[in-house]
Symmetry: C2
């Protein structure tokens, strides 16, 4: 009897160890909170409840792992977008670096305004001006050269308000949310209006999202053999804008499945959330709502960057969730912990 008992207790020890090593999801009592930077309340509960619904075998809302597709906007959803998109800070600095080689920029807009420190004036030309700035700074080089340029800039550039690297200007609760989803079998994608090639050098390190799961805007490129060495040249022409109605198009082209969860923060994400909501079965749609002017920025309907107006109405009409930064997030940036 004793020996049977000791075998059983040994077996129990193994099971406990196995449980800790392999099936930590099944040992609720020792599992730490996967979303520690989220305040307790309805928002956090809605996330946990949704994940339980779609991942519990036998649940009427169960979703097989291969269909657990989650898409996230980047600017204003995963990292800060104020006072300007980070990619725009990159572009503005490149203009200054390249200016000595372009004396004509002193008298040509939007370059002249940038060189005079008048960013607002430079951007008053709208999308056309932005496209010109990006074209002048981010093309005419190989994909490998652009990658290195972005990496080098990010290693030294600092955000003007917080004096932190741009890759530290990420939202800790959103990183926890993506990690939590992946631990529950989701595949997390970024679907951003920003440049694909601007994001890919760092999204895996910072968000755990590999390059092949980054969907963004991109320019035309061309394969060439240069002295027998293959290169991909970045050409000064836009191929695809992954914003607004472009987001479902980008999702369809790149992912080929409809997400079951989508998070954005602006009207540019509205169609992504509509497309996600239009599928059958359990769905989760949310906007990050920038309500914290102290720890971050407070803006929505009237902002020139990250305007959330129609989206706010749609969220109310459809019962989509709002991540209220001030109310729901105990921490915003990792460096504020």
């Amino acid at each position: 009897m004793r020996s049977t008992l000791s075998v059983l207790s040994l077996r129990f020890m193994y099971l406990l160890a196995l449980c800790g090593m392999l099936f930590s999801g099944g040992c609720a009592s020792i599992k730490p909170d996967p979303l520690p930077s989220w305040n307790e309340g309805p928002t956090k509960q809605s996330i946990v409840a949704f994940v339980a619904r779609v991942t519990t075998p036998g649940s009427p809302d169960f979703v097989v792992v291969s269909e657990r597709i989650a898409t996230f906007d980047n600017d204003g959803t995963l990292w800060a977008e104020q006072p300007l998109y980070s990619q725009l800070f990159f572009v503005l600095e490149r203009i200054k670096v390249l200016a000595p080689r372009h004396p004509e920029w002193k008298t040509t807009e939007p370059f002249a305004s940038v060189l005079n420190g008048d960013v607002k004036g430079a951007l008053s030309g709208g999308d056309k001006a932005i496209a010109e700035l990006i074209g002048a700074t981010s093309t005419g080089m190989t994909s490998v050269e652009f990658d290195a340029m972005v990496t080098q800039w990010l290693a030294t550039a600092k955000h003007p308000r917080f004096d932190q690297p741009y890759t530290s200007m990420v939202y800790q609760p959103m990183i926890e949310l993506m990690t939590y989803l992946r631990a529950n079998g989701f595949k997390t994608f970024i679907v951003s209006g920003g440049g694909t090639a601007f994001m890919r050098p760092w999204t895996e390190r910072v968000y755990g999202v590999p390059p092949e799961q980054v969907v963004g805007s991109y320019g035309k490129t061309q394969f060439e053999l240069r002295d027998g060495k293959p290169v991909i040249m970045r050409l000064p022409a836009i191929a695809f804008i992954d914003d607004g109605p472009g987001k479902p198009v980008g999702i369809n082209e790149h992912i080929g499945r409809r997400p079951i969860l989508a998070i954005g923060n602006s009207d540019g994400d509205l169609q992504m959330l509509q497309w996600t909501a239009g599928g059958s079965g359990a769905r989760y749609m949310a906007f990050v709502h920038h309500t914290d002017g102290v720890r971050e920025w407070a803006y929505d309907r009237d902002s020139s960057i990250g305007k959330l107006d129609k989206g706010l109405d749609a969220a109310k009409a459809n019962g989509w969730t709002l991540f209220d930064m001030k109310r729901d997030w105990a921490v915003i940036f990792p460096f504020q912990r």
Copy 2:
């Protein structure tokens, strides 16, 4: 002493069970051949040796899992492409189905030739004719409708020579190769000149390649709300041709990393192999060489479909591998086993 021994033997049993359940890769003596449809010889050896080189920790050629990107052409590399691409059989049948609604096709090329059973004549118009046929049969509907149409066709259509469903016309050794690579931490992608939307409905089931890992040619699409319901409409305009120099472009846009292994079968894959070969570290490039006119088809330099001419020269010049179907493959199609 006895009890210590019995504890040790119990522990050993657990380790054995664990080994079987979890770490089967580490229990060489009980591991079955992962490539049973490949004949023993230098080709099979070259695959196994490459995988060992890049996956053995401490090896100078070790590649981290996230960089183990493998790309495969589809037509003629993963499934048969003779006497015509399967997608073309699909398109030709759609023309016949749609003809009653298009009386003008009786007198308009390339449609008239198709309706008269003169496929060769219809295709004599080259890429323009093919684009017209695809435009007339595969656009003007939603992405969901097209998906259903492909699925329905594949469920009933049979290959004219082998009287098998097209999804059975796949190469068993290549399926084993993809499975073997995935078991060794590789992510397998399809990079095909065929239509992305034509492949995605079945690649996961047939090849184990999920839709988001299928890179192909695609037309323009548009997001719309139809009676409040979001749809993606397929428009009659080509957006991207994923062939020849388009393949490295498609790989760069979609994957954002350079493959370390690439397999094709025609000159349309040459640039994909060049781009793969151009990276640093261990690389594996190969062409499937169609040498078996009995079990499959024998063709290379002079074929109108799947022409392998410059590719053969490049393989010889660069030491790339040729998968000689007659010599290297014990089985070609699964139904021949």
